[in-house]
Symmetry: C2
Subunit: 259 residues, 2 copies
């Protein structure tokens, strides 16, 4: 056992970044976390994140793992969070760091993820919410949106709800366990949970639900959209800045909660 | 009746501004609203706001009035909000505009104001809240803070809770009708309502309550602080970026709610 492995839980305001993944420009969140670790550990460990998030998407529960040589880890483990945060910009924060077993992999061991999406549904945008909620000024039919949301739950081919990245998509079958729409005043929150997600799938689901909310499609059309397996029959993509990777799930026993 | 008077309700993210009031630098929120009106009306009307807010303080319910010549008001009144917002930066939004009687004055007719202050009480700051909540990492005793908050309610001399602006303060007696502390997860919200407020008074109250929350003063010390009428005996000022001017109250019958 010459290496120590840690699981990190990370929050970030994605406004200034090209998504999680490392970029040549250095504007991936991963680049910032790796730069912080390089200041703490001579081996400059790489970080493996659980999810690639799109440019502009936020996170409150991103997870990642990294390994350091046991000999270079000289601080009390409980200081690790403070030490990394001291080296990070303010828009990225490590919320927790837990020792993980050697076999833990933040990306491959996930059992599910929860995303939340926020819409500000009022004729005028709230300026304090403008960096993290999508402004939808038109009145929305919540009952229709909830009826439509229920059609997404379960095991479906989600080909119609993913952006084409030019490559042929072989397996687009995913299982959603939750797709809820909540309203508090002008704030509408979408909670979407599932085993795994395709590229831009959450944003396609939310965009379609909003269009159903102002009457562009009837709620039952979602069944048809899923069945057609064609991106062109579904609704729009909601913009990135309303989306938050809220939580990443792992088997319960795998990682101790505190370092 | 050659003039039309309007009451505006305005929301702004105060991060980029030197407060509401017009500045030589042009970085007052009022400067931005007046610049927008100048693009719509040849007379370039001045705006009278209900409150001066400090640099960095936000608002969701600032109020103001302005007058235009009847002959220069050529749009349907219901378009006024859209027209002004089209001329404002994204961090300032007019939420509503209502025709007001000639005798209405947004500053002198107020019957009260409500401020809210947000604290993020967790060891690590939430990066999505960093522009509008004060990060307090230490554990807080909510019961002590609530006991202390109750001592602020009522009619008191608040001299100990206002920043000295160099001038002698003649009348520092104010009446608070609410001073509440609410908690939801890591978010602590202070709701402070009263007829009128002294300079930095809300921030002095919140800073003192937070210090009571981590045990620097016992809750009953608030009575002593008020009685001493000396700024040096009260607690710290909470930073500006957690404070929001939430609502300004007027006599109910004075202004029609829609233009």
């Amino acid at each position: 056992m010459s290496a120590l492995k840690f699981k990190l839980t990370i929050a970030f305001d994605g406004s200034a970044y090209q998504g999680w993944q490392s970029q040549k420009s250095g504007r991936g969140v991963q680049d910032q976390v790796e730069a912080a670790l390089a200041r703490l550990f001579p081996s400059a460990p790489g970080v493996q994140g659980s999810s690639r998030t799109d440019a502009g998407v936020h996170a409150l529960g991103m997870t990642a793992h990294f390994e350091v040589r046991r000999v270079e880890f000289r601080m009390p483990a409980r200081h690790l969070v403070l030490a990394i945060n001291a080296c990070l910009p303010e828009d990225i924060r490590v919320l927790s760091a837990a020792k993980a077993p050697a076999e833990f992999n933040a990306r491959f061991d996930t059992t599910g993820k929860q995303y939340r999406y926020e819409v500000w549904n009022h004729t005028v945008m709230n300026p304090l919410e403008r960096a993290r909620a999508w402004h939808v000024p038109r009145p929305l039919d919540l009952a229709a949106m909830r009826e439509a949301a229920a059609h997404f739950v379960g095991r479906h081919d989600f080909r119609s709800f993913t952006a084409n990245r030019g490559d042929v998509l072989e397996d687009a079958v995913r299982t959603l366990s939750r797709c809820e729409v909540r309203r508090t005043g002008a704030r509408i929150t979408f909670i979407i949970e599932g085993e795994g997600f395709l590229y831009k799938m959450c944003r396609g689901i939310v965009g379609t639900l909003v269009q159903i909310g102002y009457g562009k499609y009837p709620p039952a059309e979602v069944k048809e959209m899923l069945a057609r397996e064609d991106r062109r029959v579904a609704g729009m993509n909601a913009p990135a800045h309303g989306l938050v990777l809220w939580k990443v799930f792992y088997p319960r026993t795998q990682v101790r909660s505190r370092p």
